[in-house]
Amino acid sequence: MKWRINTVIGGALIALLLGTAVTAALWTPFDPLRINLKARLQAPSALHWFGTDEFGRDVLSRLMAGAAASVVVALATVLIAVSIGVLVGGVAGYLRGWTDRIIMAVNDALLAFPGILLALAVMIVIGANKTGLVLALGLAYIPSIARVVRGTVLSIREKEYIEASRVIGNSELYSMLRHVLPNAIAPVAVLATSMFGWVLLAESALSFLGLGVPPPAPTWGNMLAASRPYMETAAWLSIAPGLCIALTLLGINLLGDSLRDRLDPRMAHG
């Protein structure tokens, strides 16, 4: 029963996030970039629900625009990481032998850089902007996907239904495409869901450090960074963006849990 509550809350939060992200440009109450120095640092009010920032910009509008930026970055990153990771891990698991060993040695060396550090390093090379961020985070997360895919492929290949496919006379490549890959999708889907959360968090962290999407374009991370000098006088500036990140992550974690429960029947009865 528990996963149903998870699914409902998680699904609602993520639907809200995606809905806002897609439609943000159409109905933000104010222009998220318009500076109005007369309305600096106003506390939340009927006009500005979440107050205004140090340049008099409407915080709610900026949060909505920030959602769009974060979702675009996270989705693009997950897409890159999953497609390349599945390819690399799949090839390693399919060919095995020396190819596998070499691919996995490189993979493990890359895994030795904690994800955000690798992204940071790549950002230095590519530069701090949205494209750079996507490429850097994508590259940073490829190794973990590749590792999971390879492990899954190898364990599925040991299953008896793969041996059955071989006895039938199917080629190895056919068995791989028809039997191994469809069964490997579930764990990858679970991983991709949690990865969406990690990427969102990493993106905010990098933006917070000033290494992500550069201002004035709003992201939750750089809004949080900009709020620090006004923490005492305008606490809403620090609370609102963080709350957005936390609720999004909560939604993803809940959704990820129910997805895992559904796809892994062993856990469902737990």
């Binding site: 040695a105 850089f113 994800g115 955000i116 090379v125 962290a205 450090l209 963080g242």
Partner: protein, 314 residues
């Protein structure tokens, strides 16, 4: 047992080499000429050529790598461009700050998480379990830097219990130093409790299902001993592996926490060096963190047979 140690150690060498290659390549890929960066825009061409020779940059790239690797092996990570200090001592000094926070936080988080996870698994599907899992999921969802900011706001600015900005080394004033460390440690601990509790709970549930737990109960073993002797050691093994990953992950992500609390740690050094285009320091920090990560996981794996004697033979 010795075979396991030897095998695990041998596996580390290629990883470390590849880590070195990756760091070296990365810094080569950074756009711009390092000599130009070091000397400024209006440099004398002769001086530039001399520096190029001095740095070995006129050699073929593989030779440059070997030359660099040789220096790294002797602990020479070069000098900072900004202040010309040797990189390694700089890193080691900053690392002490980061390591203290991370180790204390992970230690605390692990102790709390293992107990909470075990209790949640034992009382699976009860209200207590729901509360623990819900709490862990909530903690997991809070970004560390935001939690840090909120704690600063509350304890530093509103209640004024703890200092807000700055840092005092332990060598100068232990009490003051501790006060500065409290909030960063609490922040990291809270965040890591989330991950570790969920892992400990899942592992404990797996173990609680196994026959040997029923076997212990069928012998009349009291419940606290069943949990302590039969469940905990077996459920701890997977959590232990995760602790290694978490340690490394934190070392990478510590920069944000150090930024929030203005601590002079390794992560802050890296970020500042990136802004200052101080590439020798950037390169040193990346290499150092990766090596620490590899070593931490090596230690974790080497300790693993203590919890699971099967590994030493397998």
């Amino acid at each position: 047992m010795l075979g396991y140690l030897a095998r695990r150690l041998a596996m580390t060498i290629p990883t470390l080499l590849l880590v070195a290659v990756a760091v070296f390549t990365l810094v080569r890929l950074i756009p711009g000429d390092p000599v130009q960066v070091m000397l400024g825009d209006n440099a004398d061409p002769a001086q530039a050529a001399q520096l190029r020779t001095q740095l070995g940059l006129d050699q073929p790239v593989p030779l440059q790598f070997l030359y660099w690797l040789g220096k790294v092996a002797t602990g020479d990570l070069g000098h900072s461009i900004t202040n010309n200090l040797p990189v390694l001592p700089l890193i080691l000094e900053r690392f002490q700050v980061s390591a203290t926070i991370v180790l204390v936080a992970v230690g605390l988080a692990a102790c709390i998480a293992v107990v909470a996870g075990l209790i949640a698994a034992w009382k699976q599907n009860s209200a207590l379990d729901l509360a623990i899992v819900g709490g862990a999921t909530l903690l997991l969802s809070i970004p560390s830097f935001w939690l840090g900011l909120l704690l600063l706001l509350l304890f530093g600015l509103k209640l004024k219990w703890l200092p807000v900005i700055g840092y005092v080394p332990f060598s100068e004033n232990v009490w003051q130093a501790t006060l500065f460390m409290v909030l960063p440690i609490v922040t990291l601990t809270a965040v890591e409790i989330g991950v570790l509790t969920r892992m400990a709970r899942a592992a404990s549930i797996e173990v609680l299902r196994l026959e040997y737990v029923t076997h212990a109960r069928a012998k009349g073993v009291p419940e606290w001993l069943v949990l302590g002797r039969h469940v905990l050691p077996n459920a701890f093994a997977p959590t232990w592996t995760l602790i290694g990953l978490v340690l490394g992950h934190l070392l990478g992500g510590i920069a944000v926490i150090e930024t929030v609390f203005t601590l002079p740690g390794l992560g802050r050094l890296l970020v500042d060096s990136i802004f200052a285009r101080d590439y020798p320091v950037v390169q040193g920090c990346l290499l150092f963190t990766a090596v620490i990560y590899v070593v931490v996981n090596l230690i974790v794996d080497l300790c693993y047979p203590l919890f699971d004697p099967r590994v030493a033979v397998a």
